[in-house]
Amino acid sequence: MTPEIGYAMTAVSLGLALYGSGAAALGARAVRPGLIQSAQRAALAIFVLITLSMGLLVYAFLTFDFSVKYVANNTNLGTPFYYRITALWGALEGSIVLWSWMLALYTLIVIVRYRTRRPEFYPWTLSVMLGILAFFLLVMTLPAPPFQRLSPVPPDGRGLNPLLEDTGMITHPVALYLGFTGFTVPFAFAMAALITGRTGDEWITITRRWTIVAWYFLSLGLLIGGWWSYHVLGWGGYWSWDPVENAAFMPWLTGTAFLHSVMIQERRRMLKLWNLTLIILTFGLTLFGTFLTRSGILSSVHSFTQGAIGAFFLAFIALVLLTAFGLVAIRGDRLRAQGELDSMVSRESAFLLNNLFLVAAAFTVFFGTVFPLLSEAVRGVKVSVGAPFFNLVNIPLFLSLLFLMGIGPLIAWRRASLENLKRNFLWPIGVGIAAAAILRLLGVASGLTLLAMGLAVFVTVIMALDFYRATRARLRTGERLLPAMGGLLHRQNRRYGGFVVHLGILVIALGVAGSQAWSVQTEATLNAGETLEFSGYRVRFDRLSASEESNHFKVTGTFTVSNGQARPAVMQPAKKFYPQEQTPIAYVDYLMGLREDFYLVLGDFARDGSQATIKVQVNRMVTWIWIGGLVLTLGAALAILPDPKKA
């Protein structure tokens, strides 16, 4: 019964979404509030139905109901309890359910918040959101139904992909999807603005917090993905420029550009067309990301299964982009910029450059990602575009962005005088150059590393100076130190939220630069009892042991590792052999530290345990990336707090 009930709920939701979208649009056009209310009720019903069907699916997982094909494909009798719940979003069909649920939730929030507050925009926003929801429900009904009956009912399931049995797996898709779906709301408001002709600042002011929240979750999703890649996949890296990583990175880049350029529109009434274009691009790129994971047109770590679903997504992307950009073209007259710039050196121009570099990076990543396809179409030759390309081409852009991140917050609006520039930047430039020089003396040879570190120091000094001066100003009014700092963060939470977010980005940038420049790795085959010396560590191979786990067979290597300082540590990397997987999964063991991580992967081994091949990595400063992520979280939280009442 379960598959049929679930399927019915999905089909009904689809009908309701189509109805609701039409009703809201008609209600707005013909000014019939009754229709709009009816659409609202439909949205509520959809949310209830999707929640129920999600619950039904989870119930099926927990009760090992293998009559549901999705359950049989993704768990088996040996799958541990919590992974049976998270298997909900472990594969294609379930991920669409999660996406739809989030969209339905966001739609409800939009209804509650804006129903009375923004009656001009609201019905159109509702219509757009229900329309998008209808698409995902359509996908759940036709090409990728999560509720499909499997008969005859098999005695056991296939099991979860063992790479997904990890805590990162529990959180990464959730965070990422909250980010992706979050951008639907600003997009829907942008469409409403275009349709109603209210293309001023209103839609931007309304969606400011949504944008920050969506951006934050996208950042979080990317960071968790990196963490998962680093700790689970066994290669010791956190980013491989895989097409699907890129597909999540591109909307992040354009989303960041959007976040900044709306500030110019708020202040200078410029860039209306550009902001609309950016949000359409960002939303389009979130759809593109989903398309890439599910269409199978590019080979990637993430590829789910293929099938007709790719065609559905491509058609929807085409519909969204052509309609949205078409609307922009139609409303073109209202968007003509009365652009005014007082000086080429000002915060406005810093923001404009920020946008240029971010969008250029997004273009680079996009072009590199689809180039294999282009090459095949034009030349018939398959090429690969991988990490060496993306690193080389993006580094200048990212370094420029780092520089802009430093000067942006302090350079004056409208016109930066020489006085303003000297006051804010002279010291930081000096200290940055000094830091680079010191590193050079300490033996760092790579010019790139010196530049990156010098820039990072430059930005750090600017931020420290800024905070110091502002705190000092408050101290002068008689406040004590901690309340002064706290008060600063609280009363100007928008500005200092951004400040803390930039600080988080800075820490991440330091982690990336340090780990790229200074990490080392090697490979060696050791006999039992033999020791390898590498980069200040001594690794002794002790023994191999085998064990039978609930759903896999495990061979564990035991190694004693010491680095001359602390007590020796015992590390146990392993290889896990899952019956349904063709090759073994590496289980990495690592020692995490602030300055460096020590990373051990078990490779080949002799059956009798006499020999083992290991890959050893000393990854420097990777922990800074995760710390930066935490700082980012604080900053984003600060930025979306409600403005304290003005005195």
């Binding site: 202040r267 072009f367 080389l392 004056a412 790579s446 490779g603």
Partner: protein
């Protein structure tokens, strides 16, 4: 992302290095550098240096043996390209059609920069040529107040 040195620079560097290691002694770093240029054929988008898979292990072993036998690094890379095609290079050779992917990002950014500067110049000229304001209307006054408050932060 293992090495900062992009494939192109590594090839040039390697080709100009005079000393070839004598057969029998292999610099492990050289193995990693070559492996970083090659795509692991059974993984998705990882280099042979990074990949933990068995195939990558075997490929690294083959690289090591060929270096030990006296092959130059570019010869080792050429061997793999000969068997697998251009696809096995993790970064497309900058020749012919592939130049497009190398040039387009820089060209695009440069074009964008030029366009932006021209636009910014036009915008700043327009504002400079506007008549000086002798009276301040309430909207502008409000905006001034707001921006002063921000500046003071």
């Amino acid at each position: 992302m293992r090495r900062t040195a992009p494939a192109l620079l590594v090839l040039i560097f390697v080709a100009t290095v005079a000393a070839t290691p004598p057969p029998g002694s292999v610099n492990e770093e050289a193995v990693q550098e070559i492996a970083a240029q090659l795509r692991c054929v059974v993984c998705q988008n990882l280099s042979v240096a990074d990949s933990p898979s068995e195939t990558a292990n075997q490929m690294r072993r083959i690289i090591r043996e060929r270096l030990r036998a006296g092959d130059r690094p570019d010869q080792v890379v050429a061997y793999f390209v000969d068997r697998y095609g251009e696809w096995i290079l993790l970064s497309p050779r900058p020749q012919g059609f592939n130049l497009l992917v190398w040039v387009a990002p820089f060209a695009g950014t440069f074009a964008g920069l030029v366009g932006l500067i021209l636009l910014m110049r036009r915008w700043s000229r327009r504002s400079a040529s506007a008549a000086p304001i002798t009276q301040v209307d309430p909207d502008t006054r409000e905006r001034i107040r707001r921006e002063m408050a921000d500046l003071e932060s």
